[in-house]
Assembly symmetry: C2
Homo-oligomer: 360 residues x 2
């Protein structure tokens, strides 16, 4: 079988990330409601794998990367994953994929010879020749560590049947960066912590968590309290700890943080100032005619807090979904030519209004 | 007939400004729609009169004022006006009357021996022993100078039949302050000029108007551009100019300003920033849980501009009416004990939400 044939079987789609999603910027799994979804927006499990018979990507030129990419494509030829040639994907679409957390920003910027496998639902993505030869990612709504891991594990098994993985009895899976050695698994949850953040407790929480072998950091920006009160919590230890143990640890701590957030939110909502702020955010989101990205995140975060605590009459998921949909590249996805900043602010406000209107 | 009997015929109501209005703070004429009402909120005509056989109020003690007050009450015994003993009226109600422009702030502060005659619709008020013995005021919605004057003139005629007015062939009606000599008529219109104000043209307009024998000043505050973009335009000349001529002059200039405002508003609304501000104001007004008086005036003014120009789906009158209803004393009118500032801010926000909800 030639490479040409394989390419066709892989539903090659070089021009666009995903035809179905193109006109909406919708990441389908994201709008769904999951477990603990008042606090946990989403779960992501990522497995890094490398081929034993090829140098790490950093030591490969474009042709070398292209050959590895092709070998992995061949190994998944009968799967439901679509192949995307990253070199031929418009940058705007690539950046939108990064905004939707399907690929890394570095990968979106363009690495010659790299490729992407993406499921139609956008819940599975496999980056080829990013930092490692293979990075399998599975995304789920809410807190769903085990299901996400199981799905990633299945893809890993399928790939492993056809490809010679770099594996060492003592070090486990070999990865370019030594911090990934061992399971090479990074599991993370995206948390919305407006209560803890508003009380100024999120920064302190990050410090305590570091001692438990986990990392918590703001999803947007680098300030002491994250923009939009969105935090990503992930396992840090990959060596000497089995996947199940790492997942259970992350699960238990996530549940504890969620409980702390609920108490903090209840405390905040007893302050009339915050209740007023939430309602004002809600009024502005439904009426503004232009809105910058930063303000949108801030107001959507306030409104999401209100929705998660039963104050506002819509699902919290609608608001977190809007946090993604209103990111600059995703927002411009349907427009030709791409929007300038001013038109983007107008379109952002319009999208928010219409999206909320369709959900209340 | 004794004074006691007269008092009864005058529908004496010493405890409250007006029973019907007490629970709403509603000034009935105000919510109505009048001519030019996109720009002109209301019209007021005031006539000052004094008795020939009594010193001006400033030279009367409380008993002396009381005697004059009683003589005027006797003269209007068969009218539809209710008598209010200002000394016995709770201060909160007095200040609310001032906020609704039915009496002057000085009169509301309390002048021993003074009294007030007030129609059930609150469109006619007669202050007794304020600066002059008699100050007849007629209020109308929109631009209605002639009807307001005619109504005031009728009351004036009725009073003049029973009372010896201080009148001089050369000086006309004699008044305490020489600036009122002559017709002793002050006609004014309340204008909403958000367009001119937003373009920074209102201050300059005030200057030009001064040369035409009129005065224009901010209704709230003393800044160069008035708070809420509300301006009061009134005739300045009372000597050597007949009432009709003064009214026609004021009418013509009001019409010109209204036209200028419409053009300015159209110019402003072509700026996307202002459109956005109007919609945001609209969203906040419908959702905020607490709001200070100053912010309320500002947002109501923006929303009124949107309503007057067909952008927002409610009558502009609803919003100007709210500017009055949300003033501190009027807002506290129904509460016992009177509200503190924080509760007032919460009640103000609630009143605005409910009032708008009932009109859209």
């Amino acid at each position: 079988m030639t490479n040409e044939n394989n390419a066709n079987k892989n539903n090659e789609n070089t021009g666009h990330a995903n035809k179905d999603n193109k006109n909406t910027g919708h990441t389908k799994w994201f709008a769904a409601k999951g477990d603990q979804s008042d606090v946990v927006l989403s779960t992501r499990v990522r497995l890094a794998r490398n081929l034993a018979d090829a140098p790490f990507p950093s030591r490969l030129d474009a042709q070398g990367k292209q050959r590895v990419t092709q070998r992995v494509r061949d190994a998944v030829q009968n799967s439901e994953l679509n192949y995307i040639d990253m070199a031929r994907l418009p940058r705007l679409e690539a950046f939108s994929l990064a905004e939707r957390r399907l690929i890394s920003p570095e990968f979106a910027a363009g690495i010659p010879g790299s490729g992407l496998l993406l499921s139609g639902d956008e819940d599975v993505s496999v980056m080829l020749c990013e930092e490692d030869h293979i990075r399998i990612q599975v995304l789920r709504a809410g807190l769903a560590l085990r299901p996400a891991y199981d799905a990633a594990d299945q893809i890993d098994d399928a790939l492993g049947r056809g490809l010679p993985y770099a594996f060492d009895e003592n070090l486990g899976y070999l990865t370019q960066c030594p911090t990934n050695l061992g399971t090479a698994m990074r599991a993370s949850v995206m948390l919305h912590l407006p209560g803890l953040s508003s009380l100024g407790r999120a920064a302190r929480l990050s410090e305590s968590i570091a001692k438990l072998g986990l990392t918590m950091r703001g999803a947007f920006g680098e300030g002491s309290e994250a923009e939009g009160a969105l935090y990503q919590l992930s396992n840090q230890v990959t060596l000497g700890l089995e996947e199940s143990a790492a997942l259970e640890n992350l699960q238990a701590i996530t549940m504890q943080i969620a409980e702390q957030e609920r108490r903090a939110a209840a405390e905040c909502l007893r302050q009339p100032q915050l209740e007023d702020q939430i309602w004002r955010a809600w009024g502005i989101l439904q009426n503004a005619r232009r809105m910058e990205s930063r303000e949108a995140i801030h107001l959507l975060s306030l409104a999401r807090m209100g929705a998660a605590r039963g104050l506002l009459p819509l699902p919290a998921e609608t608001l977190s979904h809007l946090m993604t949909l209103t990111q600059p590249a995703t927002l411009s996805l349907t427009e030709a030519p791409p929007l300038d900043a001013e038109k983007r602010d107008a379109k952002r406000a319009e999208l928010i209004r219409n999206h909320i209107l369709s959900k209340v």
